[in-house]
Symmetry: C2
């Protein structure tokens, strides 16, 4: 008998699997044809010199999957009604399929937009990176955080804590955390809300994304700050909305768009990203008036509000008005550590059900273990203690940055936007700076990418939160 298939007794793949694979691939590659009789398990076992049960098991699977059929009394055959003509002939084995075969897959408008815009950048090694988003991870009380997680772990699976294990009603977030967040925001940001209005999200990015999807249709008008946090701009643009850039001056966002139909307005009043301006009270009241007149929803990203070095923190816009719809948004990843994917929205009552439902549809809910640990972290006052410590630390680094610029650049560097936050905006005059920084292994962040349209030249963001004073001095010296 001609050997239809071969097996390798020394291979690591089990023999049953080898027999199965050989028939399956042979059929899919049309080496065998529909209606062709296959040898009996006894015959094949004999010719291959393997146990009959090995063949029987493989045959059973092939029959179950429809590759082979048994006809009572006649034997086993390759299934004859498989639409084989549909498959390409002489294809490579399944295991070695190549990239080249992948078809071109057309993307949605949203998808196309994403491809051209890559915001995931590897951190260069051995460089000094004036990152404007990284907190100093060496300063976070991880021992304490681990203890809290461990406490929650001990409860996990216990009969007294079914909450951490099932699907039920966590879409809006872990209730005790929602209560803590409401209290925290009332205390530190003068936000006025009930815990029911607090929704827990995977960082502020998800909060913005869900808000955009729930409120915006294609061609709706959205007023955004220009320059603007690109993560926000992208999620608004993703809905197909029209983005209208609004200028920033020393008082903050200027609502000088006179159209009537602005659906949504995005603003970072505490510490405008990236310019660092705090919006004045007068401008805040104007903004509320503007939004009220047009029934515009304000999305307030309370970015970097925790770290204020000069004067008391300005309370949130959200607490200033109760007749304008404000979606207030924040995150713990900047004040704690980025891998903690927990943020929050505070929304008007009427948006609670629809945003809860949107979160459920997006990914059900934010993982509960970390939410529970964070609840304890906040309730025991650790969060506020940590913020106070970091404010002091970052304040010293901010000083170091300013001093270093004065020393190495003098009047050639104009620093602004550093009453609060984790970065400074620096206006330079030097055309060669980027090239020199590249050579000196200093990673700079041009502000240009935050602008819609033309950006003023030579504006840079200098983050100071993740670098020691020594490294900050060294970095500015290198490029000076």
């Amino acid at each position: 008998m001609r050997t239809l298939i071969t097996v390798d007794q020394n291979a690591s793949t089990p023999l049953t699997q080898q027999v199965y694979n050989a028939w399956r691939h042979g059929i899919l590659q049309q080496r065998f044809f529909g209606g062709q009789r296959v040898p009996s398990s006894r015959e094949l076992a004999q010719s291959l010199g393997i146990a009959r049960s090995t063949v029987t098991t493989a045959y059973e699977q092939l029959i179950a999957e429809g590759y082979l059929v048994t006809k009572q009394g006649a034997g086993t055959f390759v299934c004859s009604n498989l639409p084989m003509h549909n498959l390409p002939k002489r294809r490579a084995t399944l295991a070695t399929r190549s990239r080249a075969l992948a078809p071109a897959i057309p993307l949605s408008d949203f998808g196309r937009q994403l491809q051209s815009d890559n915001h995931i950048r590897p951190q260069p090694k051995g460089w000094i990176d004036f990152s404007h988003w990284d907190p100093d991870l060496t300063q976070f009380p991880f021992a304490l955080w681990k203890q809290l997680l461990q406490q929650q772990l001990r409860r996990l699976g216990g009969s007294n804590n079914p909450l951490l294990l099932d699907y039920s009603s966590h879409a809006a977030g872990y209730w005790p955390l929602r209560c803590e967040v409401a209290k925290y925001l009332a205390r530190t940001r003068a936000v006025v809300c009930k815990p029911e209005q607090v929704l827990i999200t995977n960082g502020s990015q998800q909060g913005l994304d869900l808000t955009a999807r729930v409120l915006l249709n294609a061609n709706d008008k959205v007023l955004i700050e220009n320059p603007c946090y690109s993560g926000a701009r992208q999620v608004f643009a993703a809905t197909g909305a029209k983005l209208l850039p609004a200028a920033i001056d020393e008082q903050g966002l200027r609502c000088d768009y006179s159209g009537k139909d602005v659906r949504l307005l995005f603003v970072t009043p505490s510490h405008q990203f990236p310019l660092g301006v705090s919006m004045s009270l007068a401008r805040r009241l104007e903004l509320l008036h503007y939004a009220k007149q047009r029934n515009t929803v304000i999305v307030e990203d309370d970015y970097d509000s925790e770290f204020r070095y000069h004067g008391p923190p300005l309370p949130a816009l959200q607490g200033l008005s109760d007749d304008v719809a404000i979606v207030y948004c924040g995150t713990f990843s900047k004040v704690m550590f980025p891998a903690l994917r927990i943020g929050y929205l505070v929304v008007p009552d009427s948006l609670v059900p629809v945003l809860t439902q949107a979160k459920w549809l997006a990914d059900r809910y934010t993982p509960l273990l970390e939410q529970a640990a964070l609840t304890e972290f906040m309730a025991a006052g650790h969060l506020e203690r940590h913020v106070r410590r970091m404010r002091k630390l970052y304040g010293a680094r901010r000083e170091a940055l300013v001093t270093a610029f004065q020393q190495h650049f003098g009047a050639a560097a104009v620093i602004s936007g550093i009453d609060a936050g984790m970065h400074a905006l620096v206006q330079l005059k030097d055309n060669m700076l980027l090239a020199r920084a590249e050579q000196a292994k200093v990673k700079l962040r041009p502000a240009a990418q935050s602008y819609l349209g033309k950006a003023p030249p030579h504006q840079y963001l200098f983050g100071f939160s993740s670098l020691s004073e020594r490294v900050i001095k060294e970095g500015i010296k290198r490029i000076g």
Copy 2:
């Protein structure tokens, strides 16, 4: 001097805060007017009988926030250029704002659709709930899981594991987990992929949502199974795509839509949800041919493939073809526990960058601690061991359900779709069943809500995975 404001020395609110609040509210409520002189800190402290520094601190904050202004040599005044006319007069205090004041906020088409469709249902207590999605949580090896999490926790924050702490390049998932998932799917589901093609998501729901957003524009045609998993239907509909229902017969999905322009096709070949059919090989090949002809992307939700009670598991559609674009999607929440929000997509090479970017934009990345613990759980073989154990346990419960129906309903109940999965489809004839079940405290799940358009009457899903054999028998007896 007339007392402009009052404080309560016995209240728990600090006196500084009280002074600040009193002025702020008074100004916002227009009890005080722009340009009005405020008493000096010494005057006010005296009249209220409190320390001068208390008043000074409050004033400093009010000045910093723009409520008050100081004029050199003249004193302190209520700011005169606040656009107060914009604020409503005689408003309630900020703390007591009521729901009634919330404005009506128009929603996007997506948002409106969400409101009418509430899929978060509270679990009734004391009832027998034939839930078709809950695994038996009492059987999960939580002690082991905690150990693995604790191991990861010990590494957290250590200098040898910066990966768990920063933002860098985790958008596609934790690399070691992506490798484990690729191996696992190759071994158990004959999925053919490199780890680079595996993307980690927050459960399969997020995988479907991201896929839909990246591939579908409004009015694109999407072929979906009818009946269909509603979570999938919703995310496809959310893009504005047109849903074309395709019928299911005993061989699975029938591609009888003859149009040329189907962008995407959603299918659950392993265990059709909710009918429970396994798609035949012949039908699978037809489906691939259909998709190839039209350059249609197939989204394969390998739902419930782990639990097969009858015959060997059918390999995934994904492994059958390399010239059709298939997005393969699955989750660990059904085989482990729902609160573990980890699922995966396996996608063609060309979709990896855009889906990674979409994930980054949606919520950055899935929390890493659980991803790292899951990696160990899989690498040590615990996952497959657990699946084997549960398959045996669920198999016995499935038997109990069938037997109980035979006993209490006889020929009046036709059970199908139980070769695999966590539920049976039961066709009954009884018009009064829902009412009787309600009375007997048995929660039933009509299949009707999974249909687009008219549904056959009296079809129910009976989940058997989370109930003991005793409770299953009791439940069927109660409604019998």
